[in-house]
Each structure stands twice: as structure tokens, then as C-alpha cells.
């Protein structure tokens, strides 16, 4: 099953299971979604459960909050994560804070699905990886799956969670295929997955970078370095313990992300690893991330901006050298 179909199946199953769940977003209904993720759901569940919205991201996202406060469990789609800029107030000032500001009077069971990442020459406003912005916002959960099985299991858990969840898909993963367990499949939020075991170096990563790190790990294995890969799966809550346990075993740490380097996810991971695993480290941890500039359109320039397998190999070799 593809990553896209896994997400579609999760949505269909949750729509089927819970009458309070409904979808809303731009082009999610009749058209089936700009990324074709919601294809067939409008036909199956009707326009009440799968609602096409105007290009009004603030109204869509703010609308989910009004729906939540009155008893529903909406799942909104923001077509590209880059578009969150126009509804940032609703996400960060309203949704993320409302439970706390109201002293726990409400639960906020909503999901904002979106997709990010580059690799398709979509240029600076359609290629970003903005998850760090939201990891920096208390009150939001941030889920960012790398495989079809996780995409399905994590999305189902996100929809059932009583907190707001930003669910970030990756545009280059939609056609990736993988095994998805039959029947009810739930992946709890806040549990990292050890993708590959190894004793020479820990690499923590997520989303599309998991695949690149796996390719790098093959090369490193041929050079005699066994890499342990930790797919974080959710950034909030963050499964530190799985990461720390791995670093205590390997003594070396590399964070790999597709977002920008400065004040990125890797900065946070490195800080936590340094603080908690200091006595186990054989050297300073390192980060691989996008260069600190807007994502260019031209394929060669985009490649020179986003992390590549070669960048991971170079950083890993320096760490174990």
C-alpha cells in the first residue's frame, strides 16, 4: 500500500467509526485533494462529512476550533505547510493555547493534516519543512510519519487524541509503498521506532530523511560502521528515551532533518542528547539539515540546498573517524 493510500484508509476508517469526525479543506471533496489523498471519500461519505472550503486558511483552521468547542472532531487539510503563514494565529495563538488559557475547561481533538518538504522543484513557497516552528509551540502535538504503516497508524491515533495534532506528510513519500498491517492499526504518539540497529553511530531523523539515512547506513556498513537509526515519528511528544538509550550504546550522535539548520529540530535534539548523554559521548554531536536559505527552484540548486545522502555520509564519517 502507498503512503497516500494508507492515509486515505485511515481517514475512511475514522470517518466510518466516529460520526463526529469530518474533513474540511481546499479541494478535498469533489476533486479528491491536491495530492489526491482524499480521493473517493467525498463519493463515499458525502459533502457533509467531506467539506470543500474556500481558500480561507484562517477560516478553515479557526473553524476547526469552533467545531471542537461544540462537540465535533474535525480533520482539516492545509494543502502545503507553507500556507500556515496565513493561519498561524489560529494554530499558534488559538488552537495550541485554548485548553491552557481556559484552565482545562476544554479538550481540543482536532487534526490539521498538511504536507511539506522539497525535492520537486516547487521553489521557496511550496517546499519548506516547517515542523520546528510547531515543535516550539507548547500545546500542539507534531506528528511526521515516514512509512505507509506509520502514516496510517499515527493518523488514526491523532484523530482519536484529545489534543490538537499537526500531522505533516511529505510530498515525495505519497507514492512510496510499504507493508501496512491488516485491520485496526494504531501507532501511539510519542514512540520512536528503531529502524536499524547498530553500535557505531546513532542517527535520529524522521519523514523523508529516514529513507536517505537508510541509504547512507548501507554505505557506512560497507565501510565498517553500523548505524542505529531512530525514526522519531512524533516531534511532540518527543521520545527522548529511545534516542538516549541508543546514544548511550553508540557514543555518537547525528541528527538529520530536511528543515533549516539554524534553530531547527536537530538543534533541539543535539542539546538534549548533549545534556543527558554527555558522559557517554565520544565526541561532539553533529547535525545535517537544509542550508539556511530559501529553497530554490532549479533542480541543481535545490539539491545543493536540501540534505543529500552524500551530506549524511560525510557527516557520519567525520563523527566516526
Amino acid at each position: 500500500m502507498t503512503y497516500r493510500d494508507a492515509i486515505n484508509a485511515a481517514l475512511a476508517e475514522e470517518l466510518e467509526r466516529d460520526e463526529r469526525v469530518f474533513l474540511l479543506g481546499e479541494d478535498v471533496g469533489l476533486f479528491g485533494g491536491a495530492m489526491a489523498v482524499t480521493k473517493g471519500l467525498y463519493e463515499r461519505f458525502g459533502e457533509r462529512r467531506v467539506q470543500d472550503m474556500p481558500i480561507s486558511e484562517s477560516a478553515i483552521v479557526g473553524g476547526t476550533l469552533g467545531a471542537v468547542l461544540t462537540g465535533l472532531r474535525p480533520v482539516a487539510e492545509i494543502m502545503f505547510i507553507d500556507f500556515v503563514g496565513v493561519c498561524m494565529d489560529q494554530i499558534v495563538n488559538q488552537i495550541a493555547k485554548v485548553r491552557y488559557m481556559l484552565g482545562g475547561q476544554v479538550e481540543v481533538p482536532l487534526v490539521i493534516r498538511t504536507q511539506g518538504g522539497g525535492g520537486k522543484s516547487y521553489a521557496a513557497q511550496h517546499s519548506q519543512s516547517l515542523e520546528a516552528w510547531f515543535m516550539h509551540t507548547p500545546g500542539l502535538k507534531v506528528v511526521i510519519p515516514s512509512t505507509p504503516a506509520d502514516a496510517k497508524g499515527l493518523l488514526k491515533s491523532a484523530i482519536r487524541d484529545n489534543n490538537p495534532v499537526l500531522f505533516i506528510e511529505h510530498k515525495l513519500l505519497y507514492n512510496e509503498k510499504g507493508e501496512v498491517p491488516e485491520g485496526e492499526h494504531l501507532v501511539p504518539l510519542g514512540q520512536a521506532r528503531v529502524v536499524r540497529e547498530g553500535s557505531g553511530l546513532t542517527i535520529a531523523t524522521y519523514s523523508r530523511m529516514v529513507g536517505l539515512v537508510q541509504q547512507a547506513a548501507e554505505g557506512l556498513a560497507a565501510e565498517g560502521t553500523e548505524v542505529e537509526i531512530v525514526d522519531l515519528r512524533t516531534l511532540t511528544p518527543l521520545d527522548e528515551e529511545t534516542m538516549f538509550a541508543s546514544v548511550r550504546k553508540t557514543g555518537r550522535f547525528l541528527a538529520v532533518e530536511e528543515g533549516h539548520l539554524t534553530a531547527g529540530v536537530g538543534a533541539e535534539l543535539v542539546a538534549r542528547v548533549t545534556k543527558n548523554c554527555f558522559d557517554y559521548l565520544d565526541g561532539p554531536p553533529e547535525r545535517v539539515a537544509a542550508q539556511d536559505r530559501p529553497i530554490p527552484c532549479a533542480p541543481a540548486l535545490e539539491k545543493a540546498t536540501l540534505p543529500q545522502v552524500e551530506d549524511i555520509l560525510t557527516a557520519a564519517r567525520a563523527l566516526v573517524g
Binding site: 474556500p54 479557526g62 461544540t70 495563538n93 481556559l102
Partner: protein
């Protein structure tokens, strides 16, 4: 202007409107007094004294299961939608007994269980939330309504357009009530609005736009009645613009250099509470003694709220981490 052929209100409704306005005024004056006495932590509160006719004319005819979204100047709306004065005042004083256990303060007063979906610290941000409540009502197929209060300042935010457009496109049961008190903090709407009135924008959405005198409670009431009927019957939103005035500044610490004392005095001549009280006596609906009694009860409620708030415990710092996640 509202249809003046509507039958007169029952006397008990008239008295309730007067009482409601008095309750808001007494509450706001008590808040101001607490602020002057430095018993309110944080930002100076945004008081609605002067605007009571809008709160009373709208909120007193909402059903308990209707919803209401308000603004940074939302004490009156919240009180008359059914929130408890004592727990509100305790929240303003950042006490554990407040609605939000001291996490919210003046701009985050809310009680979803009585339909108060929240005040807001961001101008215009409540409008999409109100539309979401409207989507939810339509989704669930009930005849509830959500009222969205906002100000002249918020009408210049993008969220205003997104919200009115979506509510109209879907015929959602949302009533948009603009309290135009002329000033967005200091800036006169005449200097920032493309049209002289906020309600002029209703034409662009092809929805009814109704201007009411926001100092005259029965006009607000009548316009709201019509808008609520329209919303409940599935015909969609109405935009009501109430021309009103806040007696205090943007916050209690704003000394209003942007307007004249003469202007302020002129608006106070049409004070909603004074004028409506006089009118009810003239109509024989209330005696002077009854008016004084309503006023005394409003003052007593506010005083009890202050006493409760001041004597309540502060929140426990050991529990500061509560309520981030469910």
C-alpha cells in the same frame, strides 16, 4: 434600521434589559475600581462601560444552548450569556477560583458549558471560531445560533472577510454583531475604513446589513430577534452594526488624547442605562423605586464578585503545568 412595526416587548423583558445593562455597568465599574487599587495583575482591562445596550440587546435573548464568541472587550457579553460574576471576577484577579484557574485573565474569559466560546486577545480572531461553531451547528442539524461579536477594528482584519464569506456561502447560523465604538485603540474608523460604516460591507456578501443605535437597547434587541430568526431558519448570517461608545479608553490606563471631553460628554447624554430607565418610568413599566432596586442588586452582585475574587486563593505554582495537554 429595525422594523419598528414589531409589537412592544413584554414589561418583564424591558425590565430584564435594564437590569442586564445595570449588571454589566456595575461589573465594569468594579473592575475599574480593582484596577485602580492595583488588585488586577497584567494588562489594563478593556472595559465595555457605555456599550451595555449591545450586550443586553443581543445576549439576553440567546438560548442557553446558543453560542457566543466575543472580543477583548467581552465582560458584558460573557456575563449576560450566563457566566457567573464571581468566577469571572476571580479570573480577572488571576485567582484559582476563576473560570480559567488564573491561566487566562481578562482576555480569555470563557465557559463553553454556557455557550461562551471565548473572548480573545487577538483582534478578529474570534470570527473564524464562530464560523466553526456555525459549521458544527449545521453539521449536527440543530437550530442553535452562534453570535460573533467584533469591533470596528476587527472589521479591517482578513479574518472578517474569510468568516463572513464562508458563513454566507454555507448559510451558516451565525450572527455577526459589530460594536462600532469608533476607535480601534486610538484610530478613528473614518481614517481606516473603506466605507463610512462597517455595515456597508454587507452588500458585498449579499446579506442583510442592519445599523442600530448601540445606545438604545430595544433597537438592538429587535434587530437581533430578526437576525436570530433568519439564522435559525437556515437563511444564513446577518451583519448588525451597533453604533456605540466606550466611556473608558481602550484599556483602563488609556487617557484618550485622541478624542475630546466634549465628545465624551455628548455620548454620555445618550447613556443607555439612564435613558432606558427614564423611558421605562415614563411608560409606567417601572417605578423609580424599582429602578433603584435593580441598580442596587446589580451593585450588590458586583460587590459580591469582588469580595469573592479578592478573598480567593492564588493558583498554586506547583500546578502551573496543568492543562497544557489533555
Amino acid at each position: 434600521m429595525p422594523d419598528m412595526t414589531v409589537p412592544p416587548l413584554p414589561p418583564e423583558t424591558m425590565r430584564a434589559l435594564l437590569q442586564g445593562m445595570m449588571r454589566v455597568r456595575a461589573f465594569e465599574e468594579a473592575v475599574h475600581d480593582l484596577y485602580q487599587r492595583k488588585l488586577l495583575p497584567g494588562m489594563s482591562p478593556h472595559l465595555s462601560a457605555g456599550q451595555e445596550a449591545v450586550a443586553a440587546g443581543v445576549c439576553l435573548q440567546l438560548r442557553p444552548d446558543d453560542y457566543m464568541v466575543t472580543t477583548h472587550r467581552g465582560h458584558g457579553h460573557s456575563l449576560l450569556k450566563g457566566m457567573d460574576a464571581q468566577r469571572m471576577m476571580a479570573e480577572l484577579c488571576s485567582k484559582e477560583t476563576g473560570y480559567c484557574h488564573g491561566r487566562g485573565g481578562t482576555m480569555h474569559i470563557a465557559s463553553p458549558e454556557v455557550g461562551c466560546l471565548g473572548a480573545n486577545g487577538i483582534v478578529g480572531a474570534g470570527l473564524p471560531i464562530a464560523v466553526g461553531a456555525g459549521l458544527s451547528i449545521q453539521y449536527r442539524g440543530t437550530d442553535q445560533v452562534c453570535v460573533a461579536f467584533f469591533g470596528d477594528g476587527a472589521s479591517n482584519q482578513g479574518t472578517f472577510h474569510e468568516s463572513v464569506n464562508l458563513a454566507t456561502a454555507r448559510k451558516l447560523p451565525v450572527v455577526f454583531v459589530c460594536e462600532n465604538n469608533i476607535y480601534a485603540l486610538s484610530t478613528n474608523f473614518a481614517r481606516t475604513g473603506a466605507t463610512p460604516n462597517v455595515v456597508d460591507r454587507a452588500r458585498g456578501y449579499d446579506i442583510p446589513g442592519v445599523t442600530v443605535d448601540g445606545m438604545a437597547v430595544e433597537g438592538v434587541y429587535a434587530a437581533t430577534t430578526t437576525a436570530l430568526e433568519r439564522a435559525r431558519s437556515g437563511q444564513g448570517p446577518t451583519l448588525i452594526e451597533a453604533k456605540t461608545y466606550r466611556y473608558y479608553g481602550h484599556g483602563a490606563s488609556d487617557h484618550r488624547p485622541y478624542r475630546t471631553k466634549e465628545e465624551e460628554a455628548q455620548w454620555r447624554c445618550s447613556d443607555a442605562i439612564q435613558c432606558y430607565g427614564d423611558l421605562l418610568i415614563e411608560r409606567g413599566v417601572a417605578t423609580a423605586a424599582e429602578r433603584d432596586d435593580l441598580s442596587a442588586r446589580a451593585a450588590a452582585e458586583a460587590q459580591a464578585a469582588v469580595d469573592f475574587a479578592v478573598s480567593s486563593p492564588d493558583p498554586d505554582p506547583a500546578r502551573v503545568g496543568d492543562y497544557v495537554f489533555a
